[in-house]
Every structure is written in structure tokens, then in C-alpha cells.
Amino acid sequence: MSERLLTIDNLSVTFGGLHALKNLDFHVDKGEIVSVIGPNGAGKTTFFNMISGMVEPTEGDIVFKGESLIGLDPNQVTARGIARTFQNVRLFANMTILENVMVAQHCRTKQGVFGALFNTSGFKQEEAEIREWGEKVLGFFGSRLVGYRLDQPASVLSYANRRRLEVARAMATKPEVILLDEPVAGMNPRESEELTGLIGQLRDEWGFTIVMIEHDMGVVRDVSDRVVVLDHGETIAQGSYEDVSTNPDVIEAYLGRPAEEAS
């Protein structure tokens, strides 16, 4: 249907003999929302770490827009257009909310010491642009993160707002693909429903492609174009939510083998 954005080819990683991921094949097209699900310890977060360059695969290739990402540092991956959030929210807790999204535009800007010291027009313009874009991505979440809150430190935010700020920070890096690691974890049903809607908007209005790890099947069902199921580092199923949710392997991975068969 459209252009292939991210291709993962036969990817494996081992930590001291343990296969965290094994022969994984995966792809994302532009404008898709793909969910990665699987039981705890299935290797989902390792998978994200690998794409974002924090862990290097032992084997295989990650190709983003025709260019391999293997061997790049995390910041270079981000600069090429892949941003991420973290499962256990990791904000710059003592920087203000605005600074959190401003600093995320680091790789999109270039003013250095000279501009800052002499307050050049280029510097002023860039600061204004950073600020404007930062307020824009914060504005995506309604009035929660803007206004008087811009200059408050991120540590004063409520849990749900920290999650939102983390998404905003990823958006601020001006990516093409956003990797969301359990975006609604710990939110109440109303909040997660709202965020589900926003994830749809991220694609439809902002044009981001989204890969999401999620445990909340409701969210997965509502937004995913495609679902990939991981277990023990391997892909065990792939397809639409309906296909996957009725797949016996998937049910087994989550619930275990029925007792009579196991024995």
C-alpha cells in the first residue's frame, strides 16, 4: 500500500548464551500503527532497544529508509527519524516541561557556543522556533502541559501527565517513526481511552508511523493496523488483531498449554 519504512531482517541478540531475540523478521510501512505484544520477558523492550541503538544485535540487519542502522549510536538513530519512549517513564525530572521538549530538538538544531554568546539573530530565531514547536507538541495534549506548567519541573507532574510528556518529548524530535513502550501502562481506563484516541491522531494528523508495545488488549484492538506477537524472542504470530487473538499459539503463550496436554 505504501512505502516500506523500517525493515528488520533476521535479527538475533544473545546475552551471554541467552537468546533475547531470535531470527526476528519485521517491517513497518509508512503510516502504519503496529503493536508488538507478548508475555513478560518475551524480548519486546530488547527489540526497541535494538532499533534505537542502545543494544547492538549479534546478527541481522535493521534497515530504515534504505539505510542500515546497525552500529549507529542512539543519537544517530534518533537523528535519522526514530524516537522512542520508555517503559518506566524516564523524563529529565528537574528540567522544566518546556525544556524537556526543547532539549529533544537537539539533533534538529545547530546553534553552538558562538550563537549563544553573541545572541546572534540566528540563535534567537532558532530558540523561538524550538520553543514554538515545543509548545505545539505539548498543545497536542490539551491544556495539561501548557500555560503555567511550561516552566514547572517535570517532577511535579502526575503519573499520567509524565507519560504524556514523554510522548510529547518523542514527538519533539521530529521523527518519522515513534516507538511507544507501553504508553498507557498505569493509566486509568478513561485516561488510556483518551490516549488511544490520541495515538490514532498521531498518525492521522501528524503523519507519524507508530510501533507500540502494549499489554492492554483493548488499546491494541482499537488502534493497531497490525499486531506482532513475540514469545521467547521469536515471532509466533503476525496479522490483524482478530487473526492474532484467535491464534492458538498466541493463546498458549499467554495462558500456557492446557493442563492435559502439558503433562
Partner: protein
């Protein structure tokens, strides 16, 4: 964000004998130990020559006497938590303080007896008759044994009684003591300021005794002044008189900017005028403080903003100093080829900046990917290597080895030559560079680079994942810090006129670190204040401060201060709001959690959410 003080329910005071005896005894023994240590460290004897109030109180006795007061206060301090009922303070607290003081005093009595009967002078160098005499107040053994428990008890009672004073009395007592001590300590500066150019001898004659120390009438006046100021402070707290500091803190937007501008201009003008009124010694002191402000501002960028603990910071100071010396002195090592010119200070400065950048990159590149603590040790190693190279015979032909480089000329401005013999001129030179350093720190902190530094300090791997090239950004911090330190080195060379490898020992790095930490990491005002207090009053690694008698003890105090700050107040004296939060993360997270509960109850997204005080 300060919530209104919660009023804790108060229970009636406990009976005087309802003590936690164990705690009292422990504090008493600790006090005894500290008193004996201070005595054997020879503080009383070597500080005895410095008078606070003539003829009653010398700094030597003061070094012993303040401790029982503090300990007597501490023993019954409680951490006040909101919503918990506490007993009112009363006779119990006073008695506890007294008992602690008594036990401490007995420790000194024991020491008096021991010194009188045994000779332990072999390992303990200060086990001397002079100490014994001082501890006996010159009145013989019996007096010495009896007086200390009595004194200790009295001072401990005073310390404990501080709890039962009203807040107003405590404030006033604090101000009285502070004023007397302050006016005594700053004697040199005050006399210099009032009499060098200004005709105010009558004031200093009133306050000070002719051979140093406050006169009795001076002490009383100082106490009255302190009391008056303390009372004003109390009134201000009650809202009777204006509170400029509070008002300033509440200013926002353009008004705040205007207030800041006024403050900066005032400080600038004061810095320009003050040296004109001062004499040699005080200007020399100010110049030393300025050099350390410059160094500390540089280290503040590295440690305070970017969170890199660089223990070899002195290396950049050394490079600046040596490069300037070699390029300007006719007396440099004789291995230099002729094409290395003997140049003007400003021309040398350009080379110094380039060299500092190169050294910063050279030292920074190998260490920048290391774990933070390895980085600290390896930078320390680099600092030592550079000093050892300057000292070695191998490069002796270039650096002069242990003989160093001498005959370094001053800074020739055409109409005047700035050199060490004219501390006032040096001070102006230092002040100009400090202004540059302050401007640089301030601009960078608010720029893209500064934000990236802070992000790295907060969480390096997330910063990396958010697209920050941590290696380059950290190297940048290293280089900026290096350039600021090299300025200091260049001025130092011109100031002292001859430099030796011993000026660049690791101790200098540590002292600068203490200055930055005591002042408050990441805080420009704090760092300046830290340098002024520590270097100005106690003195630098080699430079004497106002309390020249303290030179034996200043490093001891620095070490203790470093530990104390890390344990009790890691954000420094003048805290930076950000750092405070980071260092007390847990508490803040709890607060934030509480607020988030409030938030969850409210309608989601309502702007009145989290911080609305009830």
C-alpha cells in the same frame, strides 16, 4: 510552592528527668572526643593570638567554647514532621544540653590531668605545656579540672535553652552573635575600608583594640547593631517592615528582569569602586578570591551543569599559567627555538586559549566515554601527569623543571602595567575576566548546549536516545571549562611573576571542587559566594585568607565541610532550585505523588490541577 506551615499539635513539656539517657551520654562522649581532638589539634593554642574581644575572648578559646553550645542544641533537636504532635520544649531540653556539656567538659578535665602527668609528646606533637597552661586558664591544675565541667554545663544549658526561646529571641541571639563575630573576623577589611582612603578612624578606634580584636565598647556596640538588625528581621517576618528579598523572589517577567538589571549594575559599580577605597592587603585578598571565582565558574560548568566530575581541573590552570609564562618571560627554559617569540600578554592569551582547547580535547576525548567515577580518577591522573611533566628534567629545558619560570612580566596596557606589585590593578583584570566567565556561564546555561548538558546530568542514556550526541556535548563542557581555567592561569602567571610546578598540585583541584560544592553546584551566584567565603576568609591552597591564623587548619575544615555538605546539604549554601530537587529526589517524588493524587481526583485537564494550594 511552599505550603502554608502546618500547625502541629503541641503536647505539654516533659519532666526534666524524663531523658533518653543513652542519647545524652552518646552526645556527651562525642562532644568530649571533639573537644579533646580540637585541643590536641592545637587550635586553642595557635589561635590564641587572635583576639575576638580584648581581653576576654580569643579565637583560641572560642574554638573550644562554641562546640558545647551546638552539641547542647543538637541533642534535643527533633525533625519536625507535619501532622505529628510534639512535646513542648522545656526543662528537659535544658538539662539534656547541660549534661552533654558536663560530660564534654569532663573529657577536657581528663585531658588536663593526663597532660599534667604523662608525656605523649612523641606521637602527639601538641601534647604541650602551652596547651596545659591554656586549658587551666593559667591558674593551675585544680582550676583546670574544675572549670571545664562547669563551663561545659553552662554552655550546654545555653545550647539547650535555645530550644525554649521564642523564634524572635533565637533570631535576635543569632544576629547578635553573628554581628560580633563578623565584625571581629572582618577586622582587617573593615579597618582597611574605613581608614585607607576614608576618614573614619574614629569608628575603627571605637570598635577595635589597638593590637587587634574588638574592644569591649566595640563588642557591646556590635551586639547592639546585631540585635537591632535581628529585630528588624523579626519585624519583617511579621510583615511590619518591607522584606526586599521576599519581594524580589515574587517578582516575575519584566519586573524581575528590571530588578536583576539594577542588581547587576549595582554589583558592577561596587566592584569598580570598592578596590579604590581599599589598601594593598585587602586588594590582594580580593584578587585571590577573583582567581578562584574564575576557576570555580569553569569547574561549575563541567561539574555543576554537565555532571562530569573532573578532578584534574588544575591541569588547565597549569597549562594557562605555563603557556603565558613561557610566551612572555625572558627567563624561560633555554631549549626554545628562536621562532617562539617573547610576546605581549594579550598575544600570549590567544595562544593560551588555543592550547587550552587542545588540552581539553586531548584529556577529554579518552575519558569522555568512561563511567563517571573512572573519569574522576583518570582526570586526576592526567592532572598529575601534566604536573610531573612540567617538573621533569626531560622537559626541564622548556619548562624550567623545579626552578619553574621566573621574571614573568605583567600585562602592559600602554598607559599602565598590571603586575603583582599592584594588587588593585590585578583585581580589575581578574574582575573583567570574571565578568566574561559569568556572562559565558549565564548565556550557555540558557542555550541549546546548556539544556543538553543538563539532560546529560539528569540521565545520560535517555539524553543519548533523545538525539543528543553526548560525546561531543560533554567534550564541549570540558573545553569551555578548560578555557576559563586557562584564563585564570594566565592571570596567575602575570600576578605572581614566577611559576613553579608546586603551584599546580592536585590540592588545587580539590579546593576548587570544595568551593563549587559549598557554593552550590550549577549556581553562578552560589559559586561566587562560595569562593568569597572560603578563599576570602579561610584562604586558598597557598594563599592566606582573612583568618591567616587558620592556615594550619583550613584544609581540615575544607575536608570536614565537603563531607558535611554532601551529607546534609548537597545542594550547597545558595541552592539552585534544580539541583535541590535532583538531590532530594525522593522527597520530591513523594510530594509529586501526593499532588498527583489530588490531580487524579480533579476533573482531568483542569488547569487548576496539581499545585493548587488548599
Amino acid at each position: 510552592m511552599s505550603a502554608p506551615m502546618a500547625t502541629n499539635e503541641t503536647l505539654p513539656a516533659r519532666a526534666a528527668l524524663d531523658q533518653e539517657w543513652r542519647k545524652v551520654v552518646n552526645h556527651g562522649l562525642l562532644l568530649a572526643l571533639v573537644l579533646v581532638f580540637v585541643s590536641l589539634a592545637n587550635m586553642p593554642v595557635s589561635l590564641d593570638s587572635r583576639m575576638i574581644i580584648e581581653p576576654m575572648l580569643s579565637m583560641g578559646y572560642l574554638s573550644l567554647l562554641w562546640i558545647p553550645v551546638v552539641m547542647g542544641f543538637i541533642v534535643s533537636s527533633e525533625k519536625v514532621l507535619e501532622g505529628i504532635a510534639y512535646h513542648a520544649k522545656g526543662a528537659r531540653e535544658v538539662l539534656a544540653g547541660g549534661l552533654v556539656g558536663l560530660i564534654g567538659g569532663l573529657g577536657l578535665s581528663l585531658l588536663v590531668v593526663l597532660i599534667d602527668n604523662f608525656d605523649l609528646r612523641d606521637p602527639l606533637v601538641n601534647w604541650s605545656p602551652a596547651l596545659l597552661d591554656l586549658l587551666q586558664f593559667g591558674n593551675g591544675i585544680g582550676f583546670g579540672v574544675i572549670i571545664w565541667p562547669v563551663l561545659g554545663f553552662g554552655l550546654g544549658v545555653f545550647g539547650g535553652a535555645l530550644h525554649i526561646f521564642t523564634a524572635m529571641t533565637r533570631t535576635i541571639v543569632g544576629w547578635v552573635l553573628g554581628a560580633v563575630l563578623g565584625i571581629a573576623v572582618f577586622e582587617t577589611v573593615i579597618i582597611d575600608l574605613l581608614t585607607e582612603r576614608l576618614p573614619f578612624e574614629f569608628i575603627t578606634d571605637w570598635f577595635y583594640f589597638i593590637r587587634g580584636g574588638l574592644s569591649q565598647q566595640g563588642a557591646v556596640t556590635a551586639a547592639l547593631i546585631g540585635g537591632g538588625l535581628g529585630y528588624l528581621r523579626v519585624l519583617a517576618q511579621r510583615g511590619v517592615v518591607p522584606t526586599p528579598v521576599q519581594d524580589y523572589k515574587q517578582l516575575v517577567g519584566p519586573e524581575r528582569t528590571r530588578a536583576n538589571t539594577i542588581i547587576i549594575i549595582t554589583c558592577g559599580v561596587a566592584t569598580a569602586i570598592l578596590p579604590l577605597l581599599l589598601g594593598r592587603i585587602t586588594n590582594e585578598l580580593l584578587a585571590n578570591v577573583g582567581l578562584f571565582v574564575l576557576l570555580a565558574l569553569g569547574l561549575n560548568i563541567v561539574v555543576g551543569l554537565a555532571g562530569i566530575l573532573d578532578l584534574g581541573y588544575v591541569a588547565f590552570f597549569a597549562v594557562g599559567g605555563y603557556a603565558t609564562a613561557i610566551l612572555t618571560s625572558p627567563n624561560r627554559g633555554d631549549s626554545w627555538p628562536d621562532w617562539v617569540p617573547q610576546s605581549h600578554w594579550f598575544a600570549a592569551l590567544i595562544v593560551v586559549i588555543l592550547l587550552a582547547i587542545l588540552t581539553g580535547l586531548f584529556i577529554g576525548a579518552p575519558v569522555i566515554r568512561m563511567r563517571g567515577d573512572y573519569l574522576a580518577i583518570v582526570t586526576l591522573g592526567f592532572g598529575e601527569i601534566i604536573r610531573l611533566l612540567f617538573l621533569s628534567d626531560w622537559l626541564g629545558g622548556y619548562t624550567g623543571g623545579a626552578q619553574g619560570v621566573t621574571n614573568i612580566p605583567g600585562v602592559d596596557l600602554g598607559f599602565v602595567e598590571i603586575k603583582g606589585t599592584d594588587p588593585r590593578a590585578i583585581f580589575y583584570l581578574v574582575a573583567v575576566f570574571c565578568a566574561i566567565a559569568i556572562y559565558v556561564s549565564w548565556r550557555l546555561e540558557k542555550s541549546r548546549l546548556g539544556r543538553a548538558w543538563m539532560a546529560i546530568r539528569e540521565d545520560e542514556s535517555v539524553a543519548e536516545a533523545m538525539g543528543i550526541n553526548t560525546v561531543n556535548v560533554k567534550l564541549m563542557a570540558f573545553v569551555v571549562g578548560a578555557v576559563l581555567a586557562s584564563f585564570s592561569g594566565a592571570i596567575f602567571a602575570a600576578k605572581v611573576g614566577s611559576i613553579f610546578p608546586t603551584s599546580f598540585i592536585i590540592l588545587v583541584s580539590i579546593v576548587i571542587l570544595v568551593v563549587v560544592i559549598v557554593g552550590g553546584m550549577g549556581n553562578i551566584v552560589g559559586v561566587i559566594a562560595g569562593a568569597a567565603v572560603l578563599i576570602g576568609v579561610l584562604g586558598g591552597p597557598k594563599q592566606p585568607g582573612l583568618l591567616a591564623e587558620f592556615s594550619e587548619f583550613k584544609l581540615l575544615i575544607y575536608g570536614a565541610l565537603l563531607i558535611f555538605m554532601m551529607l546534609k546539604r548537597p545542594e550547597g549554601l545558595v541552592p539552585n532550585v534544580r539541583r535541590t530537587r535532583e538531590l532530594h529526589q525522593e522527597e520530591f517524588l513523594q510530594d509529586a505523588w501526593l499532588r498527583s493524587q489530588v490531580d487524579a481526583d480533579e476533573q482531568d485537564g483542569a488547569p487548576s490541577g496539581e499545585v493548587a494550594p488548599a
